[in-house]
Symmetry: C2
Subunit: 255 residues, 2 copies
């Protein structure tokens, strides 16, 4: 993962690039060697992007989709008055705008929250997968459905949870997602995003997020400082959040 202190990043190791996606898909179902090979060939180019760059502007016609390898991306919508709502925060291994494959253009922006490394998959390759690899196609479809499940949990948070619970819930979810791809352990991970990003995700103001983080810190549940997330009392945090990860961990049955 990208560190606060610069770390060497391989930019063209395609083998490694497909690995994180495979790891993700294999949490959902068996992926055959042939399918893995098809995925490997579908991934075209690797690019580095700085923090706070718009990768995809709403409405742009799309011919390829973005796979996130390192760093954090966000999808968000904006109101005329400038208010921003982040609908999804993406972690490495996420097929960020796979839905753009069939939507042809997306109605929201995609931007980097931190420096990031991404790969591109042309839509022609995805069409071919739906034509010749139905099982793999179902798995890719499934990843977009899990995205939607996370959006629904997000709706529950913003619509019905208190401000503290929203912030706590977000970190519970991010920890689980990071851990599932091997980027978090011991209830800790690094994430160089701002409190304003958290506010735009939780539907709060940065001022209020700051107060809620302070409360969580005072209660000994977690800290978030300098991009380091530490969940000191994970059980207590999940209770404060009303967090139940079942929407993330899908029962493993053949698809």
């Amino acid at each position: 993962m990208l560190m606060a202190t610069p770390a060497p990043i391989a930019t063209d190791d395609v083998e490694d690039v497909s690995a994180i996606l495979l790891r993700r898909l294999r949490l959902l179902d068996r992926v055959s060697g042939g399918e893995a090979e098809v995925l490997r060939h579908a991934i075209q180019r690797v690019e580095l992007v700085d923090a706070d760059k718009v990768l995809i502007a709403a409405g742009t016609p799309l011919k390829r989709s973005v796979l996130l390898l390192d760093g954090f991306l966000a999808r968000y919508k904006e109101l005329p008055d400038g208010a921003r709502q982040i609908t999804d925060i993406h972690v490495p291994g996420d097929f960020v705008d796979l839905h753009g494959f069939l939507l042809k253009s997306i109605e929201h922006d995609v931007a980097s929250l931190t420096a990031a490394r991404v790969a591109y998959v042309p839509h022609t390759a995805l069409t071919a997968i739906t034509e010749h690899e139905p099982h793999l196609a179902r798995l890719l479809w499934l990843t977009t459905l899990i995205d939607a499940a996370m959006q629904r949990e997000h709706l529950l948070s913003i619509g019905r949870r208190s401000a503290v619970a929203r912030v706590a819930h977000l970190f519970c979810e991010l920890y689980c997602r990071m851990a599932s791809v091997g980027l978090a352990e011991n209830h800790s991970f690094t994430m160089q995003i701002t409190q304003l990003d958290l506010a735009d995700t939780t539907g709060l103001t940065s001022v209020h997020v700051n107060r809620m983080l302070r409360k969580l810190r005072d209660d000994g549940l977690m800290t978030f400082r300098n991009g380091l997330v530490e969940l000191h009392d994970f059980t207590g945090l999940t209770e404060a959040a009303g967090f139940d990860p079942s929407y993330l961990t899908i029962a493993s049955e053949p698809r």
Copy 2:
């Protein structure tokens, strides 16, 4: 559609049953005669349900998916304290829990808001479509992606819009969706849901929804009484809502 005053409902006209889904899909792309035939055979049973019935409880293993023919269904999540958040309101023609096909079980409940008529599609038929009808499979996938796009707009509403705007936006969206399947015209449609349902959708209380409806009525924008929705000043309402329907009307390109 189901009326306040009972209307005759055909319960076994399978031809008619596939028609509303076809109409929906044909808004998105060309559907061949062969594909239409496959869909017709995929639809198995038609059932009537009363208002306020849980059709699918969260976590139940699923072997079939629900197609809504008449009336209104909702998908929602609940908090331990009983607070409810509706994530999606479904209108006739919606493939309500198509995502249950690959998720195998869904993490939220599906219930009827009004009396409704539904049809079932077995998952074996859907698997067959992904195996033998890739283009049709892409169209079905696309409908789940449009659901997710509506959820994102919903997130923007709850996270960043004022209470009046949220209510106004919801009715703008429902009108457009009803009109697209021929169930609304002249900026009016019938919908026998309660103000509590609206509250659980918009993340407000029923008391506050009531006040916002009053404001919209006083401003001459719309009325909602006895299940009759009338958008007296649609332009004004879209302005109050910040409504832009582009997330619903997908550019028609081959998929």
